[in-house]
Symmetry: C2
């Protein structure tokens, strides 16, 4: 693998996003729903060949769940503190002209955590100068990642199952039938963020049912309240008042996390996560052995 | 309705337990799986007639979800502080020789809560002398109830969706596939209780996945750990160190909550919940107008 042109793929479980990159600039970009869960057993070589063919036969550099033990090839984990150089020197090569970026793990003081895919964005955001080398970064989602950067490296991080918990409650809990209505950074969301200050998630969640039974919350307001309760709990466990958080997000998630971070006394600075990925993956490409 | 003999029914959503009581003593007791969810629409009169017939045509006094808006007849709620007298004077009579005990609600300082069925046990435990008139009581379960008794009344209470959350995670979460193995008050459970001290449930739950991926927790140990994490969070939110909790439970739930209460620095005293129900319902029977 060499040359100035390559196809970078951020390949998650449900989606993948591909960037054709030439001399560090994005020529074309696109996404589809061919996440790793959509690839049939043994189907990765064909899926990659098709991607390559559509992009003029260029080499590929893949990141994300494609490198998990449920993806194409387990690319393992680099232990934190981790830098772009560490990722570049631990690339796994499952075929010709294609490599997979490893994930990052932490394992100390009785607490384990893993990430796969987020590390490229985190280190890329710092490398691009969008974020200082010492900073707290947040990537909200199904499993929200909070990373502490020190001297440009991922020094430590924590994952919270914030988005997954919302989906679980809405889909399967007794209060799920109450969780209707739009979720946005409105007064209901903010009241959930405020309620998270009690640190009593299990009781506050049941309270959604009680408020409904006693007619104390109008129909259509509970989903935003629960979202605020969960995201508020997530932010509060991670943030000191006055602290700044660089938020790798856009759209609704950026609005919700910005509101929650400010609700718990922090300051949110939104950073372009796609540009961060391109920055990180291009540097790994240029550093690879 | 009068006389010394009646059938008391603790009628929940999935089970019901009936006690034939004569002059305050249990003549026969039994339970079946005819909870309110098993009764077809409009089927309560027949279901009650059958119960009555099997028990010599005695009058009935019902408590629990049978009095909810998804049961036979909505028996409403008495506002806390609530005593046995308050329940007895608010009985709802849906048919001849049958009455339903109302639930109890609290609604102040922006926090709502409801109970239905538990109030009979709580007040019965105090009336029987098993628990002092000023005490903290816990009824663990799908929705754990924690009640503060003052001068023999239910002064305030909190419900936590502790048991429901365990079932949700095991049945539907990413970590559900890790949550295998027996749950008991063992070292894994205790390590979950200890981890709950960080007040970071959403991250500690994801940590179950990370520990498994990194080979840091043996298969078969995660279910007990998650149970400890949830029950520990529940107890910690409710208890001051050194405080005593009267636990209306038996079997596994009594063991788990006793271990968690002690793990967070409290003292657990197990009380017979069936005897408490009989004590409470007999007094309501004798007090009814």
């Amino acid at each position: 693998m060499s040359g100035d042109t390559f196809l970078a793929v951020d390949w998650g479980t449900t989606n993948r996003r591909a960037y054709l990159i030439d001399k560090g600039r994005v020529v074309t970009a696109g996404s589809d729903e061919m996440g790793t869960l959509s690839v049939p057993p043994g189907g990765f070589p064909d899926s990659v060949a098709t991607l390559r063919q559509r992009n003029g036969g260029v080499p590929l550099l893949l990141a994300g769940m494609v490198g998990s033990n449920r993806g194409w090839r387990d690319a393992g984990y680099v232990a934190a503190p981790a830098r772009l150089e560490d990722l570049a020197s631990a690339l796994v090569v499952p075929g010709e002209e294609v490599a997979i970026v490893p994930g990052v793990c932490r394992d100390a003081q009785g607490r384990q955590d893993v990430m796969r895919g987020e590390e490229v964005q985190l280190l890329g955001a710092v490398a691009a100068g969008s974020v200082p080398g010492d900073a707290l970064l947040c990537q909200p989602g199904t499993h929200s990642k909070w990373a502490l950067m020190r001297e440009g490296a991922i020094a430590d991080f924590t994952t919270a199952m914030t988005g997954e918990m919302f989906a679980l409650l809405k889909g399967h809990a007794l209060i799920g039938s109450e969780m209707v209505g739009e979720v946005d950074a409105d007064d209901d969301f903010r009241s959930g963020v405020a309620a998270s200050s009690e640190g009593d998630l299990l009781a506050r969640l049941f309270g959604v049912r009680a408020a409904s039974v006693l007619g104390r919350r109008a129909p259509g307001k509970a989903a935003a309240y629960v979202s605020g309760l969960l995201i508020g709990s997530d932010c509060r466990a991670r943030l000191q008042p006055g602290e700044s958080v660089y938020l790798l997000a856009d759209g609704l998630l950026a609005r919700l996390y910005s509101a929650a971070i400010e609700g718990v006394g922090g300051k949110a600075i939104v950073v372009d996560s796609h540009a961060a990925f391109v920055s990180g993956i291009t540097r790994i490409w240029n550093m690879k052995p």
